[in-house]
C-alpha cells in the first residue's frame, strides 16, 4: 500500500510499504477513505518530537471502512464505516474506566521510554513517535487499529467524511480544551492560536456558554475565520500588545480563562522570540513556550488556564510566580477522544456544527509532501488539509 513516511526533519515521502496485518485478537484493519494533517504532525515534521525513526508511517486523524477483524472484535462488522480516535486505549484499565482515555495504561509497548522522560507513560498514539507507542499511522491506504472493539466508532448514514473526520482529534480537542476552561456565565475566554484546534475551541467555548471569546493569532485568514465562523473578537499579536489589549477589553480584570492552542512551536516576537528560537535550535530547550507565558500572565486572578497545545519536554522562563501568586488552575492533556466522540457526533447530527468549515485544502495522498509544506508555511491561506487515499 501507499503510506506517508517520515524521512527526517521536514521530509516526508509517500512510499510503497507492506499492507498492515492483524497482530492481536482485538485488532481491526481499516481501508482509509479520508485522513488529515494535524498541527501535531508539524511538531514531528519539524523534528521536535524525540524518538521518531526514518520510515515511520505518519497520521492520526483518519477514518474509513472495516475490512478485517481480529477474533475478539464482535461489536463491529466488515464494511462498517468508522472513525478512529487518535488515542489508543484498552477500555479496561483504571484510566479508561475513569474516562481518561489518553492516559491508558496498556496501549504503549514502549512505555519505558516515556517513563524515563515523564515518570509515567500516557497512552499510545497513532503515528506519533516510538516513545508514544511507535504505531504506524493513518496517512496511508490501510491502517491497523488495536483495541478496535473500543477504538472504532460507527458513523450513521447521511454524514459525509468531511463532516465526521475531525471527530478523530481536533473537534474533541477543541471541545475538551473549552471544557477545561471551566466556563461560567459571563465568562470571557481568550484563545491563543487560530489553527484548526483553536477554531474548534472557539466554537466549543460558545457551545459551553462563554459570554465572549477573544482569539489571538497573526495569520489574517485564520483570524478572519475565527471572526466570521467562530464569532470571536480577534487580536493580531503582531499589531497589539496582547496582554494590555486583553486587560482593556475586560475592564482591567483579564480573561476568566486563557487557552494555549499553539503548543511547543509558538512564534515569538522580539528578543524573547529570538531567545527561544536559538535555544530550541541548539536543543537547549525542547519547546518554545511564548504563547503559554502570555496565557499565564494575561489570565485573571483565580482564573483557569487550559493547554491543548502539545509540549514534548522542557520549557524555559515559565512564569511560575505569576501562576502561583494569581492562584491559577491549569488543565491540560492529550484529548480523551473516546469520551467526546458520541456526544459530539450528536451535535453534528443535530446540525449544531458542521466541522468541515476548517477544510481549505483537499489533496490526493500522493501529494502529502506538498500538503505538509503548504500547511506548515500557511501558504495559499491553508488552514486544514484533508488527504484522500
Amino acid at each position: 500500500m501507499k503510506a506517508v513516511c517520515w524521512e527526517g526533519t521536514t521530509k516526508v515521502e509517500v512510499k510503497n510499504v507492506p499492507d498492515p496485518k492483524i497482530l492481536n485478537p482485538r485488532d481491526a484493519i481499516i481501508k482509509i477513505t479520508s485522513t488529515a494533517i494535524c498541527g501535531s504532525d508539524l511538531h514531528l515534521y519539524d523534528g521536535y518530537v524525540p524518538t521518531m525513526k526514518k520510515g515511520d508511517i505518519l497520521g492520526h486523524e483518519f477514518m474509513g471502512e472495516v475490512v478485517e477483524l481480529g477474533s475478539a472484535v464482535k461489536n463491529v462488522q466488515k464494511g462498517d464505516r468508522v472513525v478512529v480516535p487518535f488515542t489508543i486505549s484498552c477500555g479496561n484499565c483504571f484510566f479508561c474506566n475513569r474516562d481518561l482515555w489518553s492516559l491508558c495504561d496498556n496501549s504503549n509497548p514502549n512505555a519505558w521510554i516515556a517513563e524515563k522522560l515523564m515518570g509515567h507513560s500516557p497512552s499510545g498514539l497513532f503515528g506519533y513517535s516510538h516513545m508514544l507507542g511507535g504505531y504506524a499511522g493513518g496517512q496511508a491506504e490501510y491502517a491497523r487499529v488495536p483495541f478496535a472493539d473500543v477504538g472504532l466508532f460507527k458513523i450513521p448514514e447521511g454524514l459525509s467524511d468531511d463532516q465526521v473526520l475531525f471527530l478523530t482529534d481536533i473537534f474533541p480537542t477543541g471541545y475538551m480544551a473549552a471544557e477545561n476552561c471551566d466556563i461560567k456565565p459571563g465568562d470571557t475566554v481568550a484563545i491563543w492560536g487560530c489553527g484548526p484546534v483553536g477554531q474548534f475551541a472557539i466554537r466549543s467555548a460558545y457551545m459551553l456558554g462563554a459570554d465572549r471569546v477573544i482569539a489571538i493569532d497573526r495569520v489574517p485568514e485564520r483570524l478572519q475565520m475565527a471572526k466570521e465562523q467562530g464569532k470571536a473578537e480577534i487580536l493580531n499579536y503582531e499589531e497589539v500588545d496582547v496582554g494590555e489589549a486583553l486587560k482593556e477589553m475586560t475592564g482591567g480584570r483579564g480573561p476568566d480563562a486563557c487557552m494555549d492552542a499553539v503548543g511547543m512551536e509558538a512564534h515569538g516576537t522580539g528578543l524573547e522570540g529570538f531567545y527561544d528560537e536559538a535555544k530550541q535550535a541548539l536543543r537547549l530547550e525542547t519547546d518554545r513556550p511564548t504563547a503559554l507565558r502570555q496565557v499565564i500572565v494575561a489570565c485573571r486572578k483565580g482564573g483557569t488556564v487550559s493547554i491543548p497545545g502539545v509540549y514534548g519536554g522542557f520549557i524555559d522562563k515559565m512564569p511560575m510566580g505569576a501562576a502561583m501568586n494569581k492562584g491559577l488552575t491549569m488543565k491540560m492533556g492529550q484529548t480523551h477522544v473516546h469520551r467526546y466522540l458520541k456526544p459530539l457526533l450528536e451535535h453534528i447530527q443535530n446540525g449544531d456544527i458542521d466541522p468541515s468549515f476548517v477544510i481549505t485544502h483537499r489533496m490526493k495522498l500522493e501529494d502529502a509532501p506538498k500538503g505538509y509544506e503548504t500547511f506548515k508555511h500557511k501558504k495559499d491561506n491553508c488552514i486544514k488539509v484533508v488527504l484522500k487515499p
Binding site: 492481536n24 509497548p109 483495541f147
Partner: protein
C-alpha cells in the same frame, strides 16, 4: 501479617535463622514500604530460606564454591537485587492463579523459553540466551500463600542462582491489586557470564518492569500491546 512457614524443621540449621527474621519478613512483604530498603545488607535468599526453614535447596552462605570465593575476593560478587511493583485492575485471586501456573509465565516474561512443572513445588526453567546457549535451572517454591504470595529459590547447581517472590496485595478502594516482584540473583562467572549479562541486560530493573507491564496488559486488556509485524517505510 502472620506467616506460617512450612514445617521443614527437621532440615533446619539453627544458625540460619536470625532473630527477628520472621517478623522482618512479615513486615517487609506485608507493608507498603520498599522491600529492598528494608533488607539493606541482608540477602533476600537468606531471609527467604530462613523463614521457610532453610537448608531445603541451598545449603546456606557457608558452603561457597571456590569460584564464588574468587569472585568475592575480586569484589565481583554483587548480587543483583530488583524490586518492581505494578497495580493491576483485577482481583488478587485471578492474578495469583495465572501466575501460579508457571508454565504460562513465558507468555509475558520475554526472556523465558519455557517453564516445566516437575511436581507441585518444583519446576525447571529455561531462559533464552544468545548464540544457542541455554541458561537453565531448577527452582522450588519455598513459600506459598494462596492469592497473596509465591516465593521461590533456585536449586544449588543453577546456572543463575536466584530467588525471589511475587506478592499480590489489594490496592485501596477499588484500584485492583498491587503486584510486587522482588528478585535477587548472582551473576555467574565463567563462559556463561556474558550470555547471562546479555540475557538480563544492563538494566534488570527495566526488564522486570517490562515483564510486569506485559502481565498487566494481558490481565487487563486480554492481550499484549505490540507493533511487531506492522508496516513501515524501512523495509
Amino acid at each position: 501479617m502472620e506467616l506460617t512457614p512450612q514445617d521443614k524443621s527437621s532440615e533446619q540449621s539453627p544458625e540460619s535463622i536470625e532473630a527477628g527474621d520472621k517478623e522482618r519478613w512479615a513486615s517487609l512483604i506485608g507493608g507498603g514500604a520498599m522491600v529492598l530498603m528494608g533488607l539493606r545488607q541482608r540477602s533476600l535468599r537468606g531471609v527467604l530460606m530462613a523463614v521457610a526453614g532453610g537448608g531445603l535447596l541451598y545449603q546456606g552462605a557457608k558452603k561457597q564454591s571456590t569460584l564464588k570465593q574468587a569472585q568475592e575476593a575480586m569484589g565481583l560478587n554483587q548480587p543483583i537485587k530488583v524490586e518492581k511493583t505494578v497495580t493491576i485492575n483485577k482481583p488478587a485471586a485471578e492474578l495469583y492463579s495465572y501466575w501460579r501456573d508457571f508454565a504460562k509465565l513465558p507468555t509475558f516474561m520475554k526472556h523465558l523459553e519455557s517453564v516445566t512443572l516437575i511436581d507441585s513445588k518444583k519446576s525447571h526453567w529455561v531462559a533464552k540466551a544468545p548464540l544457542d546457549a541455554s541458561v537453565e535451572w531448577d527452582a522450588e517454591i519455598i513459600q506459598e500463600r494462596e492469592n497473596e504470595l509465591i516465593a521461590w529459590a533456585s536449586a544449588e547447581d543453577a546456572d543463575i542462582e536466584n530467588s525471589g517472590f511475587v506478592r499480590f496485595k489489594p490496592a485501596p478502594d477499588d484500584r485492583g491489586t498491587e503486584v510486587k516482584v522482588v528478585l535477587e540473583y548472582n551473576p555467574p562467572g565463567g563462559a556463561i557470564a556474558s550470555a547471562v549479562a546479555k540475557l538480563f541486560g544492563e538494566e534488570p530493573e527495566q526488564q522486570i518492569g517490562d515483564d510486569l507491564r506485559r502481565f498487566k496488559q494481558l490481565m487487563e486488556a486480554g492481550e499484549i500491546a505490540t507493533t511487531e509485524g506492522q508496516p513501515s517505510g524501512r523495509e
